[in-house]
């Protein structure tokens, strides 16, 4: 049985003729948790946004495969229905649509049929409680007036409700206080199983605590320059990317 979930092959991505990603290769199997690190502006967000299908980014070379199927040309909604999910670094505010109605619409779209009302509401209530979210937020307009931390929790709530195969978390922990990071981290832990996979972009160790990390990748200047185990994340967080660079030079 093939456990390969995502394959990124020699991915080159440009924005307005400026090349951001310069040949990224990455394979993620079911059951794995990957961490993506790197200095600001090296293309981490570009990578996950491109995998999600953000039309601002142009793929000039390479392919993206999900469970062996080429999705390079697919639009974001198709990718989402195939099981990819992106937790946005800065989630959009959408006035006039309540969080609950949005989630119901999204779940219906992803699963191909409208969710059953009672089961959905019960599920939503439970997940919100687990994430330590005020149930009133379900009736508020999507992300409108949410604090930075509330927006990130709402992203994880969507992850829990939609149960995708691949979760891409773009700095979901930034802007959160210690307790909130722990809550989010617990959410990811609850979500994760041997049928799905997680890719986490982070600058800190807090969200990784308690998670079973398989691989840590370092992205620099549009390429993955190093891959290691959980210990690599600890080294980088402690010493910064500079130390690693010096070692690389030596």
């Amino acid at each position: 049985m093939n456990h390969t979930l995502l394959e990124i092959q020699d991915l080159h991505v440009s924005v307005e003729d400026r090349e951001i990603l310069k040949g990224v290769d990455l394979t993620i199997h079911k059951g794995e948790i990957h961490v993506l690190m790197g200095p600001n502006g090296t293309g981490k967000s570009t990578l996950v946004s491109t995998v999600m299908g953000d039309p601002r980014f142009e793929i000039t070379e390479g392919r993206i495969l999900l469970e062996g199927n080429d999705i390079t040309e697919e639009k974001a909604d198709v990718r989402a229905r195939k099981g990819i999910f992106l937790s946005f670094q800065s989630p959009e505010e959408i006035p006039g649509i309540t969080l609950e109605n949005f989630l119901r619409t999204a779940k219906g779209a992803v699963e191909g049929r409208a969710p059953r009302v009672l089961a959905f509401q019960k599920d939503l209530k439970t997940q919100m409680k687990n994430l330590d979210m005020d149930p009133d937020y379900a009736q508020r307009y999507l992300n409108v007036g949410f604090s930075g931390g509330e927006k990130k929790k709402a992203e994880i709530l969507q992850l829990m409700m939609l149960q995708p195969k691949l979760a891409l978390l773009d700095e979901t922990d930034s802007g959160l206080d210690v307790d909130a990071v722990k809550t989010v981290s617990n959410g990811v832990k609850t979500y994760h199983n041997n049928k799905n996979a997680v890719l986490i972009i982070t600058h800190s160790a807090k969200i990784l605590e308690g998670l079973d990390i398989d691989y840590v990748h370092v992205l620099e200047n549009g390429k993955i320059v190093q891959t290691g185990g959980k210990e690599l994340a600890a080294e980088i967080i402690e010493g910064g990317f500079g130390i690693r660079e010096k070692e690389a030079v030596v």
């Binding site: 999910f85 946005f88 959408i94 649509i97 619409t105 939609l162």
Partner: protein, 472 residues
């Protein structure tokens, strides 16, 4: 909303077949196209007008001939009054029982959900088909409270004849503008409502206008008098199938709100896209009274529509909530006017407009504060959403403040659908078309919330209908 998208996009018009089903034209009497003294006199004969109304019509006709066509708004060059049949009477007298209305007319209203709405949530319903009211009904409860709800023709000769004469076209005189004069000359149908002092009509009254004959004009007159301390919610809906010839709607609405009374007037206009909608609506509010307007404009080729409120009594209030959706070939010039003519009066105007596929939406507001209106407050806010690069949206505010002690605010925002917001929704499995419809629906939501439920549902359906076939 943020500006992200500078690509050329175009959003096509969707299917509106429900509204476009044409009935076989059945009428017992039609005047010739065009407008002459003889034609106006024929209308008077046909309607058995009292003498004063005969004179009123002829005087209005003279005014109509002397007043020039307005040249400050969307072009009316293609509207030729000689091509518009002014008076079309359907081949059926008015009914008090729904079952007696002829089948094809009944089916039209059934399709539009009118009698169903009555059964569910209305105190009374009037339905006008072409120039005449074909159905009028009021609940026993409202009637027992002394509420009068009847067609204008009956009101003209019935027990309320004096009241009608005293108020008819006094707020909107035929000299107001060319189409007010036209209305005075050829008006037909519409509703008369009187709510006695202190009576609160708990459930809304509704009238529905349907223009079926091609090249016809609809000139219904709505006169509502809400006496001291009374309350009424009146709902008005309009639609017509699309014909290749232009249709004209030049209705007139006059609302009198008594001391401490409150009137809520909700309208959804969904005329077909060859309609010239030149409608005049005006309210006068006495001391401590409130007028609330809720207005949705979706249809018509060209609209001129600026409901006006005259805050005549101290402490009187007006609230205007409106939405306009202009698609391809549509030039919708809408807005609201208010005159603060007494101390401590307040007005609050809040509108949203959406334009797509080359549609033009213009919002005009006019706030006038008279010298005596000390301590008055007015706020105007207008938000526009353009769905593509071919569409247009303008805001034209006019303020005439003749009083130092007044608090006036104005806010206008124009934006586009953010591509990032569309991507965000798509990343949750929602198709591009649905994502855009959700965003537009969300933009319109504060207005939808103000509409009666079945109209809010209709508005949502219309938005989805209008967004169908949109190209990213």
């Amino acid at each position: 909303m943020k500006v992200f998208d500078s690509r050329k996009t175009r959003v096509e018009e969707g299917d509106r077949s429900i509204y476009d089903i044409k009935d076989k034209v059945r009428s017992s009497f039609e005047v010739q196209s065009g407008l002459t003294e003889e034609i106006v006199s024929q209308i008077s004969d046909e309607k058995n007008d009292p003498e004063w109304m005969r004179t009123f019509r002829q005087k209005s006709l003279q005014l109509y001939n002397s007043i020039p066509v307005p040249n400050w708004g969307p072009s009316l060059d293609d509207l030729n009054i000689n091509d518009i049949v002014t008076y079309v009477r359907p081949d059926t007298p008015m009914r008090g029982k729904w079952s007696e209305v002829p089948d094809d007319i009944k089916n039209t209203f059934e399709r539009l959900g009118i009698p169903k709405a009555e059964r569910k949530s209305l105190a009374g319903v009037g339905a006008q088909y072409d120039s005449e009211v074909v159905y009028h009904n009021i609940s026993a409860q409202a009637a027992a409270q002394g509420v009068v709800y009847t067609d204008m023709e009956s009101a003209l000769t019935g027990p309320y004849a004096d009241m009608v004469r005293k108020h008819f076209m006094k707020l909107v005189p035929p000299s107001d503008h060319k189409f007010a004069a036209l209305h005075g000359a050829v008006w037909s149908g519409g509703s008369f409502v009187y709510v006695p002092p202190g009576v609160s009509v708990e459930i809304p009254l509704q009238s529905y206008f349907r223009l079926n004959a091609p090249g016809a004009g609809q000139f219904e007159h709505t006169l509502i008098i809400v006496d001291e301390g009374a309350y009424l919610h009146f709902i008005e809906g309009c639609s017509a199938p699309k014909y290749s010839v232009a249709n004209l709607h030049a209705g007139c609405v006059e609302l009198y709100v008594g001391e401490g009374a409150r009137l809520r007037y909700s309208t959804i206009e969904n005329w077909s896209k060859n309609m010239y909608n030149l409608n005049t609506k005006r309210a006068r509010v006495e001391k401590g009274g409130t007028i609330e307007w809720v207005s949705g404009s979706f249809g018509s080729h060209i609209s001129y529509l600026y409901p006006m409120s005259i805050l005549k009594g101290e402490g009187s209030r007006m609230e205007f909530t409106g939405i306009t959706f202009a698609g391809g070939g549509q030039n919708l010039d809408t807005g609201a006017k208010v005159v603060h003519a007494a101390p401590h009066t307040t007005s609050h105007i809040s509108t949203k407009s959406i334009s797509r596929d080359g549609g033009v939406s213009t919002f005009r507001s006019s706030v006038r504060v008279m010298p005596e209106a000390t301590g008055s407050k007015s706020s105007v806010s207008c938000e526009s959403l353009m769905l593509d690069d071919q569409s247009r949206s303008d805001t034209i505010p006019v303020m005439d403040i003749q009083c130092d002690e007044a608090d006036i605010g104005h806010e206008a925002k124009i934006g586009r659908i953010s591509e990032q917001a569309v991507f965000y929704l798509m990343s949750r499995g929602i198709s591009e078309e649905d994502a855009k419809a959700l965003i537009v629906g969300g933009f319109a939501e504060p207005i939808a919330k103000e509409l009666p439920l079945e109209y809010a549902v209709e508005m949502n359906n219309l938005i989805h209908l209008e967004m169908k076939g949109s190209i990213g």
